[in-house]
Symmetry: D2
Subunit: 457 residues, 4 copies
């Protein structure tokens, strides 16, 4: 998964892009990069690691210019190494181009083969390099038309920010899988994955970029086009369930309130008697509050999250069982002992983490554990950017809920229904991609992932 942020028309744009990336860190912890344009040349800094590790006062000061775009990445396609850090940039016959991309294309292999036949060479496995080649090969004299021509070849999911000298471009694929919003600060335009990054820099939320829309921003003017045939909207519902930050609005609506509604619906569908409701902190917090409010059962904090996790190298699995869970979450024994508790999880992927957490809770002397999951069982992989594991590793793809209940070790386990989930959403149920829950993919699937050719050591 990735987060993207771009800004034009603001002195030292890179500093605000840095802050924007900081607030999008949850969308990709593997690498970070910023590229600016100072009126004459492209300046960049990228590296593996967190935003706070990648940038410092010195390199930020050097990223001069009033236009800049940035990217945080957790690799889904493309191996995880330094060549693949975005933004990607190159020069071609008509100038420079810089791209930051969130989402996964589904026809990359076809496009690369086609262009290699015409003599192109590829240095990375990134979708963004493919898009750059398409723009360079487009046949128009006009840069905007070249972008339209290039994007018309793409299939799959993309929310894009492009920069070419004095022009900033934002685009979302016609399905609208990934979010992208437009903000404004003192007359300068901003493009960002989520609104939480507008909040941090005191920018005003203007509107979302629409599915199939391209915006060209230049000299303080924004031009919007919708050059592609309309397609069924397929916003990623998992952005609401887990991925986005609860203090963001995405697709125009509040993540926290949507998530709380999922919890309320869960309480309606699967009530149970208990002494209190508790979340798995922090991802289950919002839905747990909703469950407690709907059910009237007290909200309680039963586990404490450690804020210093950082990069624990040690895995003393031989010494301490369930260590990875325990280093993050510690149960409060005096609260749990002898109690019947409802635990709200946002989702279950492999089931192993939930199992560890429950085992840890059991040691506190809890009497009954009723787990409630604020989304349906995940049964199919995502080809549009969410980093689920292979189908075989998705526990709900291979096992019944009853089996999972026993595996995790709870007294009862219930998942929210697909209809319940869709009814909790802030807009029409037909406008979401729910492929991970029901296998109904809104596009053709990719033939194969591009084979990766190299490895940095």
């Amino acid at each position: 998964m990735c987060g993207i942020f771009g800004m034009i028309g603001c002195e030292n744009a890179a500093k605000l892009v840095y802050l924007g990336l900081y607030s999008l860190q949850h969308r990709g912890e593997e690498s970070a990069g910023i590229v600016s344009y100072d009126g004459e040349k492209i300046i960049y800094h990228k590296s593996m690691g967190l935003v706070s590790e990648t940038f410092n006062e010195e390199n930020l000061n050097s990223l001069k210019g009033d236009t800049a775009i940035g990217h945080v990445r957790y690799s889904t396609t493309g191996l995880s190494h330094s060549k693949n850090i975005q933004p990607f940039f190159a020069k071609h016959k008509k100038g420079n181009i810089v791209i930051a991309h969130n989402g996964n294309l589904t026809n990359t292999v076809d496009l690369q083969n086609e262009m290699e036949d015409k003599g192109s060479i590829f240095q990375t496995t990134m979708d963004s390099e493919t898009i750059t080649h398409l723009i360079a090969r487009a046949s128009n004299n006009d840069f905007k038309n070249n972008i339209i021509e290039a994007l018309s070849r793409l299939e799959g999911a993309y929310s894009l920010i492009l920069m070419t000298d004095h022009l900033l471009v934002g685009a979302r694929d016609p399905h609208g899988f990934r979010p992208l919003c437009l903000g404004e600060l003192d007359g300068s335009y901003i493009l960002a994955s989520e609104t939480c990054s507008l909040d941090l820099i005191d920018a005003r939320y203007v509107r979302d970029i629409e599915p199939g829309e391209i915006v060209f921003i230049e000299k303080g003017k924004l031009e919007s086009v919708k050059p592609f045939p309309k397609k069924k909207h397929s916003s990623c519902i998992f952005e609401y369930i887990y991925f986005s930050r609860p203090d963001s609005n995405i697709f125009g609506e509040s993540v926290y309130i949507t998530r709380k509604n999922l919890g309320k619906q869960l309480a309606k569908e699967y009530p149970v008697e208990a002494d209190f409701v508790m979340p798995i902190p922090d991802s289950g917090n919002s839905a747990a509050v909703g469950y407690a409010q709907e059910s009237g059962i007290p909200f309680e904090i039963g586990m404490i999250r450690n804020h210093y996790i950082g990069r624990t190298f040690i895995q003393p699995s031989q010494m301490v069982r369930d260590f990875r869970v325990k280093i993050k979450l510690n149960p409060i024994k005096d609260v749990l002992k002898g109690k019947r508790v409802i635990i709200v999880e946002d989702s279950i992927v492999r089931g192993t983490t939930s199992r560890s957490r429950v085992r840890t809770l059991r040691k506190s002397g809890v009497k009954e554990i009723h787990m409630r999951v604020s989304c349906p069982p995940i049964i199919s992989p995502c080809y549009y950017g969410i980093d689920f594991p292979n189908k075989e590793e998705l526990i709900a793809n291979r096992h019944s809920i009853e089996w999972i209940k026993d595996f995790i070790g709870v007294d009862s386990l219930e998942y929210l229904s697909i209809d319940g989930m869709l009814n909790s959403m802030p807009f029409k149920k037909t406008e979401f991609c729910t492929a991970c829950f029901n296998g109904e993919y809104p596009t053709k699937l990719p033939k194969a992932f591009s084979k990766d050719m190299l490895e940095k050591v």
Copy 2:
């Protein structure tokens, strides 16, 4: 403030000490150190920085031996530089000694002057070096008696772990200012500041070390002595209010439940009509849950805490107002807009942070803000280890509650009463130090802090 952890009789003791320090990181983020004894020599690794930054697989593997003690530090006395990282160690006529200390002595200057007159030299400004000198100068042939003689000279607050070759020693001052508990894992004894570190390594909580008690642990045997005249107990009440982790028990009782009781008492003392109760996350969480349960007003999450704060070097104060608060906490506008909210804070020190938070909340369009603080006004500094600022910087020392209310910018502001606080405690009110709230210090005050002589760059 500091956290300490020691273990004896366990293969690779240092690895468990590392985990223990990991869970005590909140007690001191400035430096970390572990010292082990491999049967022949003392091995150590210490540095400035977090536990996760200080230790790696290689240096942990080298810290061999079945006895080890560790320390995390946030400097209160002693400048903040690498010489002052604990544990402290030295050799003297009868062997090696290693010390990890939590708390502040009040007679260090007198003791150092006395020993310098006899020819001692001091390399650091740490209390632990002073204690080591006292032990080296003690007049008995027996090491245990030397420790008793040395500790009998100390005034002020100390929870100590000492190591000398095959002996591990734990001690608390007769007032019992700081916590220290005893744990056990597979027959090995553990000494730790808080029980959360026992939980992480699956160790069993045995009991607290008592005020004025010294325990000597050797070859699997524990010997307890109480050689000092009894003094009035003065457990630090601020450990319950703010400092300790909510999932710990300290002084034998649950921090979370005590903190929730503070919130309940606050609701009784200062009720107010509102749409919901929300905490300042995460330090206000426990008391906010208590306030909500007692008042019947819904608990809600109104601000989201960013988990990637790390070390943000940038301070774009000119660009973004209240940046330091906003990078940590972001209000959820759609929840707050037009609402009357009760905000629960654990404490107010200078008032500037609260003011920033309130200003940020106001921008969300909140209608009314009623702040409730789960402790009384802080009016006096702490000489026993809590790092409050000078008296002049304590806002409640210089201003009325009405003035503070206006400064912070809330519609109402109420602090918990001293009696209400003491009545919420899990044991007798006479057993606490409340000097920071009422200026009644249980010991003589230090003449002056030892002037620091050096600075590492």
Copy 3:
């Protein structure tokens, strides 16, 4: 300038490439890189910095495979940043290609423009990316013919090592500007810039790659072709004068002996009475020994070179005059005081360094300084890879020898004659490029250097 090294058919080829680069470090201190092929994929490690800083046991162990090529670089074209570190690699329609290049092309801009018109994009400003594009666009079904077709388009200087899966390729341009030799170790072939790198790994020198020759090495077999029209040979004479290591043979002959011959010739052309001959260490050592042997004047050491120079950040120019020279070279006062000395320099570029050295020597109380330079005055820049400054900064381009003598502050100054230099060479005088001494360039000159588009910070 650059150094290149490649090996095929040897287990853990990368480790020997590492050693090869180590001994070629003098050819480029700015960045280093190694790429290996493990039978399935390309593995690489590259970074700014010295070879010893770039590689460690861990990354070398990961560079698996029996084929590897490496590169050290001091940028001449292409800005100095991490994107431009060689070897360069990309995939194209028929597979992977990896290139390490020494020398400068003179028609890069034309070639890039031509290919950008056909839709190519460029990510770097390196000649090696240009060559890769040419190979990808070549029209043959056979990889070897594609290389021949691509290289036939190049003008200027290139000694190249290419790797494509199981094939290693070596090539020198028809003028033969830069050296490239062939070695052999236990049946495995090696390509290297200089023979000193063969010595380090106990490899046998086989022969030099000839101007205009391409060698294809595969499965232990070497195939040689010379597909290009013959051109006048133009070996870089400055490799003998300064650039190559004195313990290397280049173009088949000993650098040290050639350099000593320059010194002997200098003694014949410009004798002078003096107490002793001394070199500027270490670059003047060989010629000074030759001068002393020819003249019969004693060889002496008058300055000591500091071996710990490393990366001195400090430039206390305000404190210590001529610091940069003095940190490297310190005169021995008791040797110099009151003496008439002949100082042998290998070359003078800007004259400022020589001036500093002389000023430092003067303080030792030396009586007379007679400077002898073992090459003619440098009056023209190099377009084939030597990093001379702009023409305006070449002191001999703008000033007479008399003027330079006064500027440097010596009692006499003499340069070796062009004929004397050519007569000291180990082979025919018509086979050298002497453009930097007489402005006679053996090729067309580049229109302009490719404008650089980006900058890493």
Copy 4:
């Protein structure tokens, strides 16, 4: 071994100390440290590593004050870890004290035992901590007298620089084992191990500190005392043979000229017919020039020293025989082939390095190798600071010259005679310590080295 440098009365003294240490790097590559006094407090920076790695602009700027002392160390006593980095500092009853020490005491264990009996504790195994304790325990009211009293207790070798607030002190033991000279720059006094560090900063050499002399420098005034009974002078002859830099004067005389005289004497004692004389660069350079001048045989360069050795981690001993030698020195084959050569070595310790070098030379096809060593056989360890190995590892202690000749693999091997060595010295033969050559130690030997108690990992 160690190098020391101190300065008083000069703005930003630390920057000049940094340069001084830079030029003394050859005296200790393991750690470096500088301590300054800014008029109010002691400021320090120390770390393992080279001077260029330890210091940067930022930390040097922070080392404010007009008094500073520095130290580079290669451990001889005291384990090699960060606690033992000098300068050492502590406060005692009358103020601060900072010490930098070169040399080894022989009665440290006795002194430490004595003071531990009186209650002292020791944190390191360094002689400098012992000296500090002695000063703190001295019984006078006057700081200068305390220093005299403390130094009067020391036995063995010491050249010391002490700093206490506004006073700088220099001292040499009565035997005068190690060098220490006095310099002056713009009215500020300097103390330094060797004169090469005066040269670098353009300071004037004033004179050497004499054996048994103490100088106190304060407010621009220097006071000299010689409070100790006279002892036989025993200047370390190995400083001339190998240890000091050839561009330094030590004990008042030129190292290079002395070393060249050793080479001349060697030529007189052991002439041999040969085609040329060559040094092992660079340590044999001076003596080889002397041998060539005396014998009339041409001086030649037969091996080239690689200047980029840095920290080669790799030891591909299985791959490349004699790698450690070859990475440093490469023979020039075309010079050596078929020739009879005289090789001048400065000294032979274990013999293994010489053996490797000879083996490498043999591969060049050299006809005869006649090795001449510019000092006598080393048969006894040094207790005064030179880091020779155990007696058992000294090849000349266990084997005849004939045996060593065969071991190393040369056609002839001759060592300079003890008388020849002493006659080549610039002052009286009775004033040198020659214990390593004849076992005649000028002091009592230490009982045992202080057992080290701790290890940093």
